[in-house]
């Protein structure tokens, strides 16, 4: 019960994770700066999917998208997207069938929009990491940014993982490539660290893969850390839990690469 996954110690409450000038600050800072939080998130959903969203007026569209997506996450986390009927969705959102279909045009559209946002979030991560120079810091920032983004967007990441098969075929491929892309990005960073003498490992791909599955674990099994039990609760507590898990991953990587 004193394990790093469950307990939160005082050190973890620090929020000064990196000294790089492009480095990411605390989770609180991230939440203020990340473009896919709160109202901005659903505005972005509307903006990027105006082709499939039927409602034209942003005011209504954004509000309805929020209702629909929130309800989708709630219902389908329990029973899955396929078992969620549009009548369930109507009940949960308080919207009528017509209201829902004046916002989306097919049930599948909901899944498509989720895939789009998660893909966008991963682009942000990729772009952010590309700005970092040192190999080790690349990894540190990739892990941190990914944890932050997948905390804020936990239901989105979770949904995409489990409901990929509800997507049109082309998007299924794209969704798999998000994972392989993340592995390759980390592997590249590790290999360049080895080339520059910063790291020592023969097993870059295994390490990269380990990092990725640990990151997936964070948003797939939140009950392991009880993070999302208080999702509406204390931001400082969330911060502590993330920093704690983040540090566990980084320490693990340090041991694996025999960092110089």
């Amino acid at each position: 019960m004193t394990s790093s996954l469950q307990s939160v110690n005082a050190n973890a409450l620090r929020s000064k994770p990196s000294d790089s000038k492009v480095g990411l600050g605390s989770f609180a800072d991230f939440v203020e700066q990340f473009p896919l939080v709160g109202e901005q998130l659903y505005a972005k959903v509307f903006q990027r999917n105006s082709a499939i969203v039927q409602t034209q007026k942003p005011k209504f569209a954004v509000a309805n998208l929020e209702k629909i997506l929130t309800a989708t996450f709630e219902v389908s986390a329990v029973s899955g997207f396929d078992r969620m009927s549009l009548r369930d969705l109507s009940r949960q959102t308080g919207m009528s069938m017509g209201a829902i279909y004046s916002c989306i045009s097919k049930k599948e559209d909901i899944a498509v929009m989720v895939a789009d946002i998660v893909g966008l979030a991963n682009e942000y991560i990729r772009d952010h990491v590309a700005k970092v120079d040192s190999a080790f810091e690349k990894i540190e920032q990739a892990v941190r940014y990914h944890l932050y983004a997948s905390t804020v967007l936990q239901p989105w990441y979770f949904f995409l993982f489990f409901e990929t098969r509800s997507l049109p075929e082309e998007l299924q491929q794209a969704s798999i490539q998000i994972e392989t892309g993340a592995i390759e990005q980390l592997e590249k960073a590790l290999l360049s660290g080895v080339a520059e003498g910063e790291f020592k490992t023969r097993d870059a791909r295994m390490i990269a893969n380990t990092i990725v599955v640990l990151l997936e674990d964070w948003y797939l099994k939140p009950w392991k850390t009880r993070l999302f039990a208080h999702v509406d609760g204390d931001l400082a507590e969330q911060e502590a839990l993330i920093n704690n898990y983040n540090r566990s991953i980084i320490e693990l990587v340090e041991k694996l690469v025999a960092k110089a």
Copy 2:
């Protein structure tokens, strides 16, 4: 492309993994000895679920269960259990609707039987590991046995992971407990290794959790190692791939626990 996840070197072809007297031999040995392979598997399904299986004569029941479960794995790996209609299943098995319903009594029963077998396999793993003394060997054997079992039963493990939500509530809990149980078992082994001075780590739970997610990765993402592309093919090649992945995990653990 020379990474440990994808390449197979000559060393990995060895099949003498352990010197313990209760230690597990090669994958080939395991396949001969494991009670949930080939015909025995479906006989066991029938035996343990005779209460819900409608067909009485074992001869018919076993043959039909094999058809139904095989077809379920094939269809629902692509489209998910919910989207798989019993008409799909009828087409894929070559059985009529009536024939299917003279074997099972509800669609849900299929998922229940899968959960039962995976649960049983994990009991075998637990019992096997309990016989081992040394802490490090406990971990080694747990990893090896788990990889072997989840290779042989890959569609079963895969299905249970993705379709837990199709189970009755009580079994959903049980299915989660399989994972938490595995983590706790490994954590205990690690902690006892620390107590005996065999290991040195402050982070037993994180390491245990890392092992478990890597084991899950093996059966969830077989395309990463292309293992199951030749599932009907060369046993020696499978053996090599498993040993390779197994060794990657063990080496990783050795680095993490600073083994004495």
